[in-house]
């Protein structure tokens, strides 16, 4: 009876935590976060999961953001800003990525909390940030199976998690590890420092630890590709692509003002004439 009650309470807590996490948009384990975007929702079957970061690098010095692939221009972001692309969509020969942005003055900036919206960017106007996937592509041949016995990590506290070897980018730490911690491959860099890759450990996925210096938080970034961003022309504001109708709209509004003013003047003149 007591066991039955405990099971019900545990089950209830589990269901509540699942509901709370779903409501708050928080992803547990392998749940993929999806953007709140109309185009994505309508074309999710044709979208590809990306989950990588891209630097704005348009030819004009700015990256243009759109309502949808090939859609209406929303504005521009300065080159060098880092956008997270969750999904991509291929339109003709062009690959587009869905991002989240906010506004700062008259420029758009990457933003994923507070007041933000979704937009699409043409990935030809970006540079992919060198990341763990890039590292694994570049060093596939140098990755070998882990042959150690975890003695370097035994009783070690605060093991530092890195995005990839020599990235200089820490993504967290573990107070202590247990028998579920499995290093599936290792990498020895040119300095002889040994790194271990872990596919999954208590909700953390695809990360690296430095086996030689597991608690060192000061391992600097090394040999990362330097990105040269296109600079904007001085004093030139970026122009939205597509059919720019600004001039035509200004002429129409000016015509409306003029016609109304003349009409009011003529009506008044006629009224005064009739009064006489």
């Amino acid at each position: 009876m007591k066991q039955h009650k405990t099971n019900r309470i545990v089950g209830l807590i589990f269901i509540c935590s699942m509901l709370v996490s779903l409501l708050s948009g928080f992803a547990i384990a392998d749940v993929i976060w999806e953007p709140e975007d109309n185009f994505y929702r309508a074309h999710m079957e044709d979208c590809t999961y990306v989950n990588r970061d891209y630097y704005a690098n348009g030819e004009s010095g700015y990256l243009e953001l759109f309502t949808q692939p090939g859609g209406k221009s929303l504005g521009f972001s300065e080159n060098g800003k880092l956008f997270h692309v969750q999904f991509s969509y291929t339109l003709g020969n062009e690959v587009w990525g869905v991002v989240e942005y906010g506004s700062e003055g008259n420029r758009l900036v990457p933003r994923s909390d507070g007041d933000y919206e979704s937009a699409w960017i043409n990935l030809k106007d970006t540079k992919l940030k060198y990341d763990a996937v890039s590292f694994e592509e570049d060093h596939q041949a140098e990755l070998t199976s882990y042959t150690g016995d975890y003695s370097e990590l035994k009783d070690i506290q605060n093991i530092v998690i890195w995005t990839f070897p020599n990235s200089g980018e820490i993504s967290g730490s573990f107070d202590q590890i247990d028998e579920n911690f499995i290093i599936d491959s290792q990498y020895k860099d040119i300095n002889g420092t040994l790194w271990g890759h872990v596919s999954y450990y208590y909700a953390s996925k695809n990360f690296w630890i430095c086996i030689s210096k597991p608690t060192d938080t000061n391992i600097p970034a090394k040999d990362l590709p330097v990105i040269a961003f296109n600079s904007p022309s001085p004093d030139a504001d970026p122009q939205p692509t597509g059919n720019d109708m600004t001039t035509a709209i200004i002429i129409c509004v000016a015509a409306a003002i003029l016609i109304s003013a003349v009409q009011i003047y003529l009506s008044n003149k006629k009224k005064k004439k009739n009064e006489k």
């Binding site: 221009s73 504005g75 008259n106 109708m245 003002i257 009409q263 009011i264």
Partner: protein
């Protein structure tokens, strides 16, 4: 600026006409010529305010509140001047202009937040 901005201008003008003429009726205006005058004055000011608001916000990076304050004040003054010169039954033209513009702006703001 693309074709859909024309829709923005038309919707904004339509809603403004509806709200301001409606308020004028509630405030006791019954003169048909004054209603026509109001409608024409709104055709003069509303698209210009919406267009300038969009252009100044995008091109200058000025504080949006300042842009709106400047444009709305200009619209109130121009409309008030037209009512003063041409209206038959609008007794306090500038106050009337302030009331109708404040009403349409506030309702417009509420609608845009709901949408």
């Amino acid at each position: 600026m693309q074709i859909d901005f024309v829709w923005t201008l038309l919707i904004s003008l339509g809603l403004t006409e509806l709200m301001e003429l409606g308020l004028a009726y509630i405030l006791g205006l019954r003169n048909k010529k004054d209603f026509v005058l109001m409608a024409m004055v709104n055709v003069m000011t509303n698209p210009a305010v919406v267009l300038l608001n969009a252009l100044l916000t995008r091109k200058t990076g000025l504080n949006h509140f300042l842009i709106v304050a400047f444009l709305e004040t200009a619209a109130i003054v121009i409309e008030g001047a037209y009512y003063k010169n041409y209206a038959e039954k609008i007794s306090r033209p500038f106050l009337f202009s302030l009331e109708t513009n404040a009403f349409s702006y506030t309702v417009g703001l509420v609608i845009s937040h709901i949408i």
